[in-house]
Subunit: 205 residues, 2 copies
């Protein structure tokens, strides 16, 4: 049976919906509507209904959505009903901040290891992790079965690190280095570069 | 005369094109093509040509683009022919990493001040900055004429900080706190939340 292909832009909004729902749960709320979600998120209610309808029937006309149920369903869709172990490469400012970041909890992600190539950093502690030698990267991620990684190295090392990660079996890379990387088909790649976001806004100023 | 409205998604690709061009310049390159840019970026050459054509005529059929000229033109379009001073709010791991980030240089951005509400942090140094009291935030950004800010506070403080920034005249906010914010019309808002990017990828795993 052919699976329906969902546009990536729709997939990209699901985590934002989930974050809003989890926040409502933290406020001890249990029912919401596409209108209310839309107002919180600055997305139209019609867009939210349309996006969710691609994955199934999650609410009833007039009674809204059960927040618990909808959050659980989105977690299943995004495959974060499990917790993904993450390898962080680069133990500089950004890598260290990410390794200590509290925002992964209850969101399906957990930093599991951190690597660097600097002898002065290898063996030192970052949060609750000991920085490992990047020479062990490929083996370590393969043996741990790690599929998700973040690159927080200088630009000139980022492609080499991506190649090592892919060789070790990583299938999803979030790249903080300000450079475009190439990865084989079947490996997902996302970028975080604050300057890209800032420049996108200064256009309008 | 009515100005042509450019879709925001097209605006959002210009910084990515510029980053690739600046990298080529750093490699001492001076001519490129939409094909080469496309291969580096994983974007089709046709898309790049179409995007750039929205802003003018930057290359000649058959001779490609002058990298220097195209980069300069994109800088003008994005208003980063000037350097924007940035206020960072929150001097925790992420805010401190951002304040020390080397990646702003030559990209039209410069961190100018950093604030926190923690008496233990106020007055301490982060990189070359002294952490200022958040009680002075609104006045400080107004007096310095700052239009661009980054929020790196806990979620529960982020909306209040956004309100202070807007009151102080800030027009563009990059929010690292994992929560959706609301700002008045005319104020631009972008988000960086690594979990959103990670969840968007685990969908495919």
């Amino acid at each position: 049976m052919a699976e329906k292909i969902i546009p990536d832009i729709v997939v990209g909004r699901l985590p934002i919906y989930l974050r809003a729902l989890q926040r409502m749960l933290a406020e001890n709320r249990h029912v919401t509507s596409s209108q209310e979600m839309g107002e919180r998120l600055g997305i139209s209610a019609a867009q939210i209904r349309k996006d969710l309808s691609q994955f199934g029937e999650f609410g009833k006309q007039g009674t809204g959505y059960s927040i618990d149920y909808l959050a659980e369903q989105i977690r299943l869709i995004l495959h974060i009903d499990q917790v993904w172990d993450i390898a962080v490469v680069g133990a500089g400012d950004i890598g260290s901040a990410v390794a200590r970041y509290q925002g992964f909890a209850n969101r399906g992600m957990r930093v599991a290891m951190i690597f660097d190539n600097d002898p002065a950093k290898i063996g030192s502690d970052v949060g609750s992790f000991t920085v490992q030698d990047i020479n062990n990267l490929e083996t370590a991620v393969r043996e741990a079965g790690i599929k998700v990684a973040m690159i927080a190295t200088p630009s000139q090392n980022a492609q080499e690190v991506a190649d090592l990660l892919v060789a070790g079996g990583v299938k999803a890379i979030l790249n903080y280095a300000p450079i475009s990387l190439s990865v084989p088909e079947g490996v997902r790649l996302q970028y975080i570069d604050p300057v890209i976001h800032l420049q996108r806004m200064t256009y309008y100023l």
